[in-house]
Structures are given as structure tokens and as C-alpha cells.
């Protein structure tokens, strides 16, 4: 036991958790923490807005599969984190947000920069701590990491009053902790896995629907083994994009509102769907009552509350999906042969559907379209390059046209749909993997929201490539207004946009504006090699829509494949 301040104990506890980076911004109420940071080995990344700090921690967490850490001061600093915390909550990403709070005697007095951040973040954190004495801090930090990273991961907040940061006392750093009301490690029920196994072996037209849970638990090889063993085609939810190599012969890509036409079609013809770490979002399955009707639906998930929440299922396996899949694979008899005839029929139907849509879905005729640009990006970017997206048309184009080859190298704000997420999150991802290129597939609307993170990317030498599909529009809203509101455009024109190249250069980043596929090719090659923060401004037609499209409130069978 040694004597130290609460702030020093916080930093020591974070070091014990092997934290590499802290993304944050100081202020009055976390000054003692920033003072303790001076003596710490952990690298601090100064952000330009706290929202980006939370997104960076989130992006780091998604690639490292380990909690990311962000700091903010009290009041406005803390509330600026909220969008990032809610984003991480919606996508089950582990982040630890440490906020300063006004001193204990000032709490509840409407003091300067006081917000009840625990109350504010209650619905979007897994848990929130507020130490009342400094000696509580080491244990709280340990519990925070345990809660954030285990079971279904999620954000945890630690709100530390300024006087608690300053208080010097004896500190005890526990090696082991137990949280009485929290038992996230559930061994899957073997009889349910058996039941699931029987259903899959009996199925003639089985499908796997892989969700974000596959990525969170790192069950990539298990998923691939299972699919190959039984020749089961794989579709992914949007969060699950990249759970399975998208150039694999069994891959059909994402399903849902902006899923691949062939994936949506094939799911409707299946007789058994195995959903792994997926929550049956309305964006993924369309109408709950239509999806998987009259067929066997099997659900693997770590969170018991997801079973039957949106969709009632025929078998439910609760537990970490990686270990559940391992058990399932072991249960498949060694000499089991898929009925070759039936399996061939099912796989040839898959090829038929893929070919049909390949021919019937036409791209726009312009020199550069989003689709062509994204295909080019795939061509130039190494297979293990990391890609994230902003939100809107750029995101859905990425879902449709950018094939993820190395599992786990793609992520996006899928649950909350946070504009401005992708760019700071890509910087966090770069911090987690400095050895591979990282690209943010952006639209101008989203990029505008957090473009000041260019300063971080340049100055902190965490260079990412902003692949800016620029239509000077809030494109997805415009598409909806075109489709559902009789072309009555409202609030979607981004008039007087900045010159994104000049903007990038003023931050010290490199910039290219491309007007042909050749120029795009060159710009991408330069960007991938140079390891300097780069903005590639790619002007596209404001009228270019995202297709296929399943209109909200309709089922996957009502998919529209083109204008």
C-alpha cells in the first residue's frame, strides 16, 4: 500500500490495465488528472472536440478488441462525450469514459460546469461509477474494465469529483475483483446446441446470418469452419459485415435495407437460418413478422435479453458465440456428409441469384460513381487495410460495394447511425493498428461534423485516408425525400461547402481532388504508400441513389433493385 492522490491512482490503475492511449481534452474539473498524466507512460491524444475522443476510443476498441479510454472534463466536456458513448452502447463496443466532476461539496448546487453525467448517460452505459473517496478508485477502474469488456461489451463511465482526484490516501490495487450482481460468463446449454445442430443437419437450404457478435468474440475461423463443413451460404448483418471474407464462394454479403439483392433473395428461400451474434434489427430483417416465417430460426447470442426480443426463435444458444460455435462444430459427426444433390442444388441456386442481380443491377453512366470508386478502393487497398465509414449514402454504398476480405477489418456506426463517427474512429483504429492503412469512407455531410480531427490525424501522426464521396448533399436524406416525399427537398443542400483540399492542406494533410478514375487510382496509390494523413475529394453526382433498397416498414421481399 502506498500513498498517492486519487488522480495518480487513476493513472496507475489504467497502466495496470495496459492502456496505451487516452483520447481526451482537459478542463477545470479534471486538472488533477491531467497533472498526473504528466508522470504517466500512457500516450495522451489531444482531441479538438470530446465527441471525437469517445469515437476514437471506440474505433481503437473495435480493432484491438480491448477497451478504449477517453477523458473529458465535467459539464460540457462530459455531455460532448455522450454521442460517442451512446454510439458505443448501440454497437456493444467497450469504452471507459473518465469525466471530471465538480468537488463533492458543490454537487447539486448547479455549480460551474456541473452536469449529472451519471444521470444523463444512464440509458447508454453498461454502468457508471462515482467514487466518493479516493481509495475507491483502483477497484472501480478494475471493475470498469471487467464490465466494459466482458459479456456483451459496452461503455462504462467513471465520474470523479475534483476533490476526490486531489485527495491523498493509501491505495490498494486489487488483483481480483467480483461484481456481485454481474455474471456475464454463461456456459451455453449443451442440449440447446444439440437441438440447433440437429436443425442445421436436417436443413436442405440452410443460411448463416452472422452479426456483430462474431466480430466481438473473434469467432472468424469457427464461422468459416462451420460454413465450409456444411456448405452453408453466409449473409451478414451490417454490423457483421466482414465477419466472413466477402470474396469467399459461400459469401453473399450483407442483407437488409441496403443489403445485397442476392443476400436478401436467398434468405427468403432458406429453410433454416442460423443467426450468430445478431439482434434482428429492423434495418436487417425488415418486418419481424415476415422474416424467417414458418422456418427454423436458431439464435446464438451472449446476451440472454436478445433472445426473443425482436424475433421468437426455435432454438436459442446463450453464451459466447466463439465457444458455442466450437461446441457445435464438435457435435457434427465426423463422417457426416451433406446430401450432395441437395447441397448442389442450393449452391447452384445461389450462383443463379448472384448472376441474375449482377446483370440486372446497372451502375450510373458517369465517369466516377460511388460504386466504381469503391471497387477501385478495394483494388488498391491491401486486404488487411482497415475501413470505417461515416453515416448515410457513403455508408450504404460501402456496405454494398466494398468487399471486406480480412475478417474484422471493417466497422461503422451501425446501431446509432452517428454522423461524424467514422473519421475520428478511423484515427482510433490507426492507433490500434499503426502497421496497416486505415480508410474512412466518408460523405461530405458526416465529414463536416468532425473534420477538425484532421488536426489530430496530422499532429499526432496517426494518418488516415479520408475517402470523401462528395455530392454536396445530405445524400441519404435527399434520396428519401426524392423517393417518399415527392422530391420536396428540405434542408439537404450543403451550400458553400468548404474546399476540402484547401481545408486538408491548412491542417497539414495531403489532398487530392479527382475527376477521373485514373486520377483516383493515382491518388489512392500515393495515399496508401505515403503514410501521411490524406483527403481524397471525389465529386459525385448528387442524384446518385443507393440501390438495392428495402423501404422502411416493408419486408425483404419488397426490395427495390433500381430506379
Amino acid at each position: 500500500m502506498s500513498e498517492m492522490s486519487g488522480a495518480a491512482a487513476l493513472m496507475a490503475a489504467l497502466e495496470k490495465e495496459k492502456v496505451e492511449y487516452i483520447f481526451g481534452l482537459p478542463g477545470g474539473a479534471n486538472l488533477p488528472i491531467y497533472d498526473a498524466l504528466v508522470d504517466s507512460k500512457i500516450r495522451h491524444i489531444l482531441v479538438r472536440h470530446e465527441q471525437s475522443a469517445a469515437h476514437m476510443a471506440d474505433g481503437y476498441a473495435r480493432i484491438k478488441r480491448k477497451a478504449g479510454v477517453c477523458f473529458a472534463t465535467s459539464g460540457p466536456g462530459a455531455t460532448n462525450l455522450v454521442t460517442g458513448i451512446a454510439t458505443a452502447y448501440a454497437d456493444s463496443s467497450p469504452i471507459i469514459a473518465v469525466t471530471g466532476q465538480v468537488a463533492l461539496p458543490m454537487i447539486g448546487k448547479d455549480a460551474f460546469q456541473e452536469t449529472d453525467i451519471i444521470g444523463v448517460t444512464n440509458p447508454c452505459t453498461k454502468y457508471a461509477f462515482q467514487p466518493r473517496i479516493a481509495s475507491e478508485i483502483p477497484e472501480m477502474v478494475k471493475k470498469s474494465f471487467y464490465i466494459a469488456e466482458s459479456g456483451r461489451p459496452g461503455p462504462v463511465l467513471i465520474d470523479i469529483p475534483k476533490d476526490v482526484q486531489q485527495q491523498v490516501t493509501k491505495m490498494d490495487f486489487p488483483e481480483y475483483i467480483k461484481v456481485r450482481g454481474y455474471n456475464p460468463i454463461v456456459d451455453a446449454d449443451l442440449s440447446e446446441i444439440n437441438k440447433a445442430c440437429e436443425m442445421i443437419l436436417k436443413a436442405e437450404k440452410p443460411m448463416i446470418m452472422a452479426g456483430g457478435g462474431v466480430i466481438l468474440s473473434g469467432a472468424f475461423s469457427e464461422l468459416q469452419t462451420l460454413a465450409e463443413l456444411l456448405s452453408i451460404p453466409v449473409v451478414t448483418t451490417f454490423k457483421g459485415k466482414g465477419a466472413f471474407p466477402e470474396n469467399h464462394p459461400l459469401a453473399l454479403g450483407p442483407i437488409g435495407m441496403h443489403g445485397h439483392a442476392e443476400a436478401n433473395k436467398m434468405v427468403q428461400e432458406a429453410d433454416c437460418i442460423l443467426a450468430i451474434g445478431a439482434r434482428f434489427s429492423d434495418r436487417t430483417v425488415g418486418r419481424f413478422d415476415e422474416f424467417g416465417k414458418d422456418i427454423n430460426v436458431i439464435h446464438f447470442d451472449v446476451d440472454p435479453a436478445e433472445i426473443g426480443k425482436n424475433k421468437s426463435v426455435n432454438a436459442a444458444v446463450i453464451g459466447d458465440v466463439k465457444s458455442s460455435l466450437r461446441t457445435l462444430i464438435k457435435l457434427i459427426p465426423k463422417n457426416f456428409r451433406t446430401n450432395e444433390e441437395i447441397s448442389k442444388l442450393w449452391l447452384s441456386r445461389k450462383r443463379e441469384i448472384v448472376n441474375y442481380y449482377e446483370e440486372s443491377i446497372k451502375d450510373y453512366s458517369r465517369e466516377i460513381t460511388a460504386k466504381k470508386a469503391l471497387k477501385k478502393l478495394r483494388e488498391i487497398l491491401p486486404a488487411d487495410g482497415i475501413v470505417t465509414t461515416e453515416v448515410g449514402q457513403c455508408q450504404m454504398w460501402a456496405s454494398l460495394h466494398f468487399d471486406v476480405i480480412s475478417p474484422g477489418t471493417f466497422f461503422s456506426s451501425t446501431g446509432l447511425g452517428t454522423m461524424g463517427f467514422g473519421f475520428p474512429a478511423s484515427i482510433g483504429a490507426k492507433a490500434a493498428r499503426t502497421d496497416v492503412p486505415v480508410v474512412d469512407i466518408a460523405g461530405d455531410g458526416s465529414f463536416n461534423m468532425t473534420e477538425n480531427s484532421l488536426a489530430v490525424s496530422v499532429l499526432e501522426e496517426l494518418p488516415v485516408i479520408v475517402f470523401l464521396l462528395n455530392n454536396q448533399m445530405l445524400g441519404m436524406v435527399a434520396q428519401w425525400q426524392r423517393t417518399f416525399y415527392n422530391r420536396r427537398y428540405s434542408g439537404v443542400h450543403q451550400k458553400n461547402c468548404p474546399d476540402y483540399c484547401k481545408l486538408a492542406e491548412s491542417y497539414g494533410a495531403q489532398a487530392h481532388r479527382v475527376s477521373s478514375m485514373d486520377e483516383l487510382d493515382k491518388a489512392l496509390k500515393v495515399a496508401v504508400k505515403s503514410n501521411i494523413a490524406t483527403v481524397i475529394d471525389i465529386p459525385i453526382d448528387p442524384d446518385e441513389d443507393v440501390y438495392p433498397f428495402v423501404a422502411p416498414g416493408t419486408g425483404l421481399k419488397d426490395m427495390i433493385i433500381g430506379a
Binding site: I118, G119, N122, P123, K126, I147, G181, P304, A305, G308
Partner: protein, 179 residues
């Protein structure tokens, strides 16, 4: 589902009153987290009571809610995710002892009225807590149904104020919380 040993779900899917007996950490902010979950997930609370248990670091919350089985199941699962909740037992009328306390103040200017109300109170095993020239206040302890029945019975006299505690409950028989 380790926390949830004594769950009793009915087969039919009609709305019914369920009693959730919830063991929680006895700490500030816990009640807020739980009631906020009901609001944010669109569940309804009929009544809620909290008090300390036989162990000083634990409180027992009794929450009554009217719901169908599916909603109840989802509610219990969402509650189990809350880290401050140690254990949840779903009780219903058959497997629980449950009681509520109500204080009912009525108009009673007429002495005969006062006697009538006092007689009713005796029949309902209630107690007269206060009498003035104008009013009479009765304490009734029992199931919510019994309190409703008494309230209906005396409603003609003119009820001035009602204070009800909400239900407190324990499972019947040798069910231990095993904490």
C-alpha cells in the same frame, strides 16, 4: 439465468398483475437506474416499494406491473442486465404473500357516518388512525384488491385523501434468496 430461480411464467399471453421481488445493492442511485429502465424501455410500473433486507448491504424492491408473459420475460431479462440487481423472483398471487398499506381520509361530519365507517373498518380489520369533527382516517392493510374494495365501499362518504404504499411481498414457504 442464474439470478432467476423461481420464475413462474403463465402459458397464456393475457395481461396480468405480476409481482417482482428484486434484491438490489443498498446504494444511492439504484432506484433511479431501475425506474429509468422501465421508462426508457417502455415498461409500466404499477407500484414500487423499497426497504432494507435482513442484510444491511441489500435492499428488497417489490415492483408490481401489469403485463403479458412475453413483455414480462423481456422486462425480467432487461432488469437482470442491471449490475446493481442481485436477484429477481417473479411472484404472482398464488405463490406470494403480499400486502399493501393505505391511509384513507373521508368526510365524516355526521356522527352516524363516523360510526358506520368505524364498523366497516372493523370488518376490514382496519384501524382508525384519526378522527376530527369533520373527518375520519382509516388505515387498511391487505392485498390491493381488498384496499380497492374498502375504498369503493366508503366512496359515497366522500374520500378526501388517499395514501397507498404499494405492494410489499415475499415468496411463500421455504424459498430462500440464497445470497
Amino acid at each position: 439465468m442464474q439470478k432467476n430461480k423461481n420464475t413462474i411464467f403463465d402459458e397464456d399471453n393475457e395481461n396480468k398483475m405480476y409481482i417482482l421481488s428484486v434484491i438490489v445493492e443498498n446504494k444511492p442511485g439504484v432506484l433511479f437506474r431501475i425506474t429509468n429502465l422501465f421508462r426508457s424501455r417502455n415498461f409500466n410500473i404499477e407500484s414500487i416499494t423499497v426497504g432494507i433486507t435482513e442484510k444491511p448491504d441489500l435492499s428488497r424492491m417489490t415492483i408490481t406491473t401489469v403485463s403479458d408473459v412475453k413483455t414480462l420475460e423481456q422486462l425480467v431479462k432487461q432488469l437482470q442486465k442491471l449490475i446493481d440487481i442481485i436477484q429477481i423472483n417473479v411472484l404472482n398471487k398464488e405463490n406470494a404473500v403480499y400486502r399493501e398499506l393505505a391511509l384513507i381520509k373521508m368526510n365524516a361530519k355526521d356522527p352516524t357516518t363516523r360510526i358506520e365507517i368505524a364498523n366497516f373498518a372493523t370488518i376490514y380489520r382496519g384501524n382508525i388512525m384519526d378522527i376530527s369533527n369533520e373527518t375520519i382516517t382509516v388505515e387498511i392493510i391487505g392485498t390491493p384488491d381488498k384496499i380497492d374494495a374498502f375504498k369503493n365501499l366508503v366512496s359515497n362518504y366522500g374520500i378526501i385523501q388517499v395514501a397507498r404504499t404499494g405492494v410489499s411481498a415475499l415468496p411463500r414457504g421455504a424459498v430462500n434468496d440464497d445470497l
